[in-house]
C-alpha cells in the first residue's frame, strides 16, 4: 500500500525520535524520555 507524503514525514520524525532516545537516554530511562519528548 502506498504511503502518503504526510505518512513519510511522520515516519521520518519517528525514526529521528528513536535515534535521539537511544543516543541520549539510558535503557531504564528510555520510556520516561519517550513520554516526555
Amino acid at each position: 500500500m502506498a504511503l502518503s507524503r504526510k505518512d513519510i514525514i511522520q515516519i521520518l520524525w519517528l525514526v529521528a525520535k528513536i535515534a535521539v532516545i537511544v543516543l541520549l537516554s539510558n535503557t531504564g530511562h528510555a520510556l520516561f524520555v519517550y513520554q516526555n519528548f
Binding site: 504511503l3 537511544v22 543516543l23 537516554s25 539510558n26
Partner: protein, 375 residues
Amino acid sequence: MKEPSETTGSRGVAAISRLGAIVAATIVLLILFDVLLRVVVAGSGILQTMVDIQAPATLYAKLEDFRNAKGLKVAVLGDSLVFGRAMRDKGDSGWRAHTLSSQLQGWLAEKHPGQPVSVANFGMNGTLPTDLENLIRIVLPVRPDVIVFDLSLRSFSRDFDRDGDIRTRDWLNELNVSADGTYSIVKDRGGLANWLHGQLVNYWFLYRFRDFLQSLLFDGSPFTFLASARNAADSWLRGSAKDAGDDLGDVVLLMRARSRYEKIDLAPDNPQRQALDRILNRLSEAKQPALIFYATENPKVLPELLPRQTFDQLQAQLAQIISPQPPSRVFVGPLAIYGATDFLDHVHLDRVGYRRLSEQLGPRIDEMISQRVMR
C-alpha cells in the same frame, strides 16, 4: 452494492496493510540511518577521541574502531597517567592533544611518513593490574603491533587485596570480545537482558555508539552532566575560592597516596602481583610485543611517599618480576628525565612531561615495530 460486513473486512485488511507498510518503512529507515552513521563515524575518526571509559560498550566501540584501523597500530593501556585528563583538571583545555598517546601518535607518524598510524588510548582512571589483565585479554586478539602499558608501585598496595577492592571495574571482568569481534557480557545474573544488550551492541551501531557519545558530550550520563552543571552553578553563585579548593584536593590526594605507599609489597600472595604475573604470561604466550613503563613519581614528592631505600628495593623486585624478558618485551623503569615542574602532582605529568616521556618511549616502540616487521 457491497455487503456492509465485506466493507468492514476490506477496511480492516487495508488498515493492517497500512500499518505493515509503516512498520516496514520505519525499519528500513532505521537500517539506512545505521549504515549512514557507521560510515560517518568511521570517516570522522571521532571514536579515537579520548573519553572516560566507564561502560563496556564505550570500550567496545573504541576497540572495534581500532581493529578496523589500517597501518601501524599501538594500543596504550593504563591508569590516569595514560588517560591524561589530570591536565584538563589543572586548566589545560587542549589536554587531548598533549597526552602520551597523542604525542606518540605524532612521533610515530613523523617516523613513518605515508603510512597510517593509529595509537589508541585505553587509559582509565585508577586501573590496577587486575583490571589491566582483563583489558589485555580484550585488546590482545586485535593484535596491535605494540601494546604499551604503565605500572606504578601504588597498584601493589595492600589496599587493593580485599574483596570488593581487588578490581576497579567489575564490568571489565564480565566483558568478553571474541577474536572475530563479537561482544558479550558474561554474568551470573540477568541472562536474557545481557543477551539482548549483547545483540543490540553487536548489530545496532546507534546503540553501540550511545555510551561513547554520552561520555564525550556529558562526561558521563546526561544525569551526571546535569548534576555537575548544578554543582558548578552552585559554587559560582556562592563565589567559592576555587584555588583554595584545588590546593586542598592536592593535599588530600598526597595523603591518600602516602597511605597507599606505606602498604606496598610485591609478595607472591598479593593479588595484584599475581595479576601482573598472569599478564606477563599471557603476553609471552601470545608473543605480543609489549612495552611496560614505570609511572615515575615526582622526584620532589617521592621522599614524602616512601624512603628512598624502600623505593629502590621495590623497584629491584619489580624489575625481577618482569625479567627474564622475552625478546618481545621491553621494560622501562623509573626515568630520571623529569624536573619537578613537569608534574601536576605526585605522579601526573603536564604536556612537557608527556613530551619527555614520549621521546623516551617512541624510539623503543619504533624499534619493536621494525623488529616485528623483520620477523
